[in-house]
Symmetry: C2
Subunit: 217 residues, 2 copies
DNA sequence: GTCTATAGTTAGATAGAC
DNA sequence: GTCTATCTAACTATAGAC
């Protein structure tokens, strides 16, 4: 029994199958959590056999770690994009909208991440945690500078970030509850489980207003 | 093999053991999710043997359902307490503070519930879902009336509730991330995992300001 | 690269003695 | 009411043929 090549050049079929596996695994892990997911489910979802999946990845944990690392990276990216030389309120509002758009376009990633945090972030490496902390610290510093310059209302930078994360990610993580409450009278749409466009437009408008009122000096 | 009495009178020892089991199960389920939890863990945590646990409850699912039903009830309670004849802004602010206090005092319940929603609310009965929907609908109606009376700024009632739930529950559900970011330089405290008093005071102040600014007409 | 077969664990639940 | 022993099913992972 051989194993797939690591970082060296991968064939077309290898790239395709790895992609199939990761896509299927994202479906399964985000819906059932790590322990609730099985290789059988990932195999069925991807159309590959179980041993074949273990040919491409070292095991269940390796697939999960791969997804988690990617999600962490895309989670940090928009934070870095905040421009300390830009208009303070507009920079924050833009960040809120970016995060909300991520919840709309990548709800499975958000849910996998939420699951991981909820259960104590056991599978996130100390290095990743340190990176997160440093980046958040730098962002808090940008916010503090804006406040001292009188360009932003005086708020605690950390709790501002918590509030933004919570209220934007909520639309992905608590999607099943939102659907439960708003009902889905939209019978026209194929009910695949995602929230409809209109809900996100309303969320967009609401959060814009909420954070604008909070932050305008 | 016999089974424990259902609703009829239970002995002291029965009440005590059921309580032990539920307390242990809350620890375990909130930390690992449904599928990630085992009867062995609940047995060890409660100090009872596995068969003994199955003497008191019909199975793993029954224990979970019992906890979930209680959590749902305590989740709905503060919503009903909102008084349509009270001061609009103060009523909402009081609700926010109540929800935040619940996150502080009962973080495990919040996390068990979040886990359940995150994974699609599969184990919540249709009846409970309907009850939730009706109660939220009634609350939205109270908020709409306040807005029409000019006592509250014009906001979407549903998205207001989503924002409140998200930003208060965040302190329980994402506790591990908050700890990660705020660090715990508080070496004096026995680090059992919970956020310290100071963090909740800051959250209290922040959310008070956020929703006051949003809602004051 | 992909498959069938299976080893090795772990988990939920039950039987039956005490 | 509580325990030891055990059954059965599910799951990760590996062996080895093709």
């Amino acid at each position: 029994m051989t194993t797939a090549p690591k970082t060296e050049k991968r064939s077309r079929i290898q790239r395709k199958n790895r992609k199939l596996i990761l896509e299927a695994a994202l479906d399964v892990f985000s819906a059932h959590g790590y322990r609730g997911s099985t290789l059988d489910q990932i195999a069925e979802q991807s159309g590959l056999s179980k041993p074949n999946i273990l040919y491409y990845f070292q095991g269940k944990e390796a697939i999960y770690q791969h997804l988690l690392a990617n999600i962490l990276a895309s989670w940090l990216e928009p934070l870095e994009a905040i421009d300390r030389d830009g208009d303070a309120v507009e920079e924050i509002i833009a960040y809120v909208q970016t995060k909300l758009a991520l919840s709309q376009q990548h709800p499975r990633q958000s849910r996998l991440f939420a699951n991981e945090i909820l259960q104590g972030a056991r599978r996130i490496s100390q290095q990743s945690k340190d990176e997160l902390k440093v980046l958040v610290e730098a962002t808090a510093e940008k916010i503090r500078a804006w406040i001292e310059a009188g360009r932003l209302a005086s708020v605690d930078p950390y709790h501002l970030l918590f509030s933004i994360w919570a209220s934007t990610q909520h639309y992905a993580d608590f999607e099943s509850q939102i659907t439960m409450i708003l009902g889905q009278e939209t019978l026209g749409n194929a009910q695949v489980g995602a929230l409809d466009e209109q809900t996100f437009e309303q969320a967009h408008a609401f959060l814009d207003m909420q954070f604008r009122r909070l932050l305008t000096p």
